[in-house]
Amino acid sequence: MSSLNTYRAGPDERGHFGIYGGRYVAETLMPLILSVEKAYGEARCDPAFVAEFRTLLAQYVGRPNPLYHAARLTEAWGGAKIFLKREDLNHTGAHKINNCIGQILLARRMGKERIIAETGAGQHGVATATVCALFGLKCVIYMGATDIERQAPNVYRMKLLGAEVRPVTSGAATLKDAMNDALRDWVTNVADTYYLIGTVAGPHPFPAMVRDFQSVIGDEVRAQMLAQEGRLPDSLVACIGGGSNAMGLFHPFLDEPSVRIIGVEAGGHGLDKLHAASLTGGRPGVLHGNRTYLLQNEDGQIQEAHSISAGLDYPGIGPEHSWLHDSGRVEYVWVTDDEALEAFQFVTRAEGIIPALESSHALAHAAKIAGTLSKDHLMVINLSGRGDKDVNTVARALGDVHLGGLV
């Protein structure tokens, strides 16, 4: 792989990144998947589509959001100069909305009237319900019953926005099972329905399309860092569940050899116990439309993931990450629930910013390595979402039962 002169050319015309990706879906869906690919191929070259996407990002989402120099974290960690990419300041509070804007424009272009989506933490569900409200489209969100309980505020937000939230009780009733039910819905309502997948996974063209819509993150970081510091960053750190915030930050920098790129998986209770670190603890397999690293047993049965963060609680990962892992271009590491919780509290107090538990995984790893780096090292951490939705979970995890009951 070291002979590659670009890491940004994938996927091939069949949707493969090396051996990963592809279109492993039921035949009923194949014609629709092919039509999504065709429609997206046309839309991305259509100046009117691109202009509408950019206008909505600017006026509705609030982009560009800041690349914030976190002086207090820099001082506390005692090494690299720390910058936070403030995706938490987007409308709806996370990076998920970038992709939703792009795909809702595509769904309208394809004449689809009903939108379905899966959600784990509820951020993608809220973002999808939001764009459906904006365009007056019917919206059905599949969410695991376990997640509905631990992300109650987001469930109510979706309902206020006019979405129907369907609880999923199969399996462990989390993100994987929500995705199964969303696929079952899509195969049943194939004529009028668009499945707005929330991450860089699923059948081709979704991994590439979601990456393209999220690449606004990395494109902005490049321009902002050049304007603020006069050069490119030295390292990028982002958390990974499916991996869309990470891919959006990383992709514009993949061909910059001076930029060290680090993805942080959810190590849950530790890799010898329950976790969600697919790359470190899994092996290649086929699920939900693509080949990628999966947590599975010897018989190819998918295993339940665990993370304190509902948004990372998934036994797979986007196929392009699997390819970047094998090629060695991106370093993939993991942190535990406890480390993420500690970073959550520390950053909240140090900077007055409450990060999402997902983003806290990236912050926890940055805290480990920042002190070993020189003071002129420019490190960008993707603050992919805000943590308001997580205060209940955190209160419970910290044993603050009283607060946990109130919030």
Binding site: P31, G171, T188, R291, D299, G300
Partner: protein, 270 residues
């Protein structure tokens, strides 16, 4: 000639459709599942689809989702399913057995080795719901090398442009999924099924078997007038489950329903 081809051509010679029955391996446990499996030919099944349990059956409705859950709970595995086929083969050398499920367990086994091991166990065909023609080239050579028919699915969304792509590599028979949806839910009209089978037959000379949403002997008889084979799965799986929950014999319940379905299918064109 393969077992599938032999059976399908003798059915054609008798001018009747075949009854294709689906049950899940290891549901609700290995012994019960083997007893149902072994009893299917005598009850009237012409071809047997044997389900390989998977944690994430994305194309299945509740009846088969729950069956997969019970099977895995009972220790179901791909290895165990192959052992059950081998045990069946000791008693029945003629009835074709088609394994049906999802790709990941097969991929985890290794496609080449799996096809060789499956053929050795006595498997005749393979249906993998999430391996469309676009990705099937990673498995087809191993299937062919081991004389295993890879059965492709056609659906209401397969138009005249799409059908040649699907049937181009098909062997054994072509499976027509009669509804856009998951197993064991809605049923298509006879008119829609008849039109679809006629359309598929313009693109292939292979027999066409129709499944999804066929639950009763009457429905089976209707479809038997329109197609070369009638596939029933969820209804049999549910009959066994309901019997067990009611304290009755799941083997007798499953095979009893199969006998009635067979009666419907066999009498259809008379």
């Amino acid at each position: 000639m393969s077992r599938l081809a032999t059976r399908l051509s003798s059915l054609a010679a008798d001018n009747r459709a075949g009854l294709v029955t689906y049950v899940m391996g290891f549901d609700p446990d290995r012994a019960t599942s083997q007893a149902i499996f072994d009893g299917l030919p005598a009850a009237g099944a012409d071809i047997i689809e044997f389900g390989m349990p998977f944690t994430d059956p994305m194309a299945d409705g509740p009846a088969i989702q729950w069956a997969a859950g019970r099977a895995l709970e009972a220790g179901g595995s791909l290895r165990g399913v192959l052992e059950m086929v081998a045990a069946f083969r000791k008693k029945d050398a003629a009835t074709p057995v088609v394994l049906m499920g999802y790709y990941n367990p097969v991929y985890a086994w290794g496609p080449e080795k799996f096809c060789a091991d499956a053929a050795r166990a006595g498997v005749d065909g393979l249906i993998l719901v999430d391996l469309p023609p676009e990705e099937a080239d990673e498995l087809l050579p191993s299937c062919r090398a081991n004389d295993i028919d890879f059965i492709f699915l056609t659906t209401p969304t397969s138009d005249d442009a799409r059908l040649p792509v699907i049937v181009g590599n098909a062997s054994g028979f072509v499976y027509y999924v009669s509804i856009a949806g998951i197993t064991g839910t809605a049923s298509a009209s006879n008119q829609a099924i008849g039109d679809a089978v006629a359309r598929i037959k313009r693109h292939t000379s292979l027999p066409v078997c129709v499944g999804f949403g066929i639950k009763t002997p009457e429905q089976a008889a209707d479809v038997a007038r329109l197609a070369d084979g009638v596939v029933v799965g969820s209804a049999i799986v549910a009959a066994a489950d309901e019997a067990k929950k009611a304290g009755a014999d799941p083997v007798a319940a499953a095979l009893g329903l199969v006998a009635k379905l067979a009666e419907g299918v066999r009498g259809a064109r008379k």
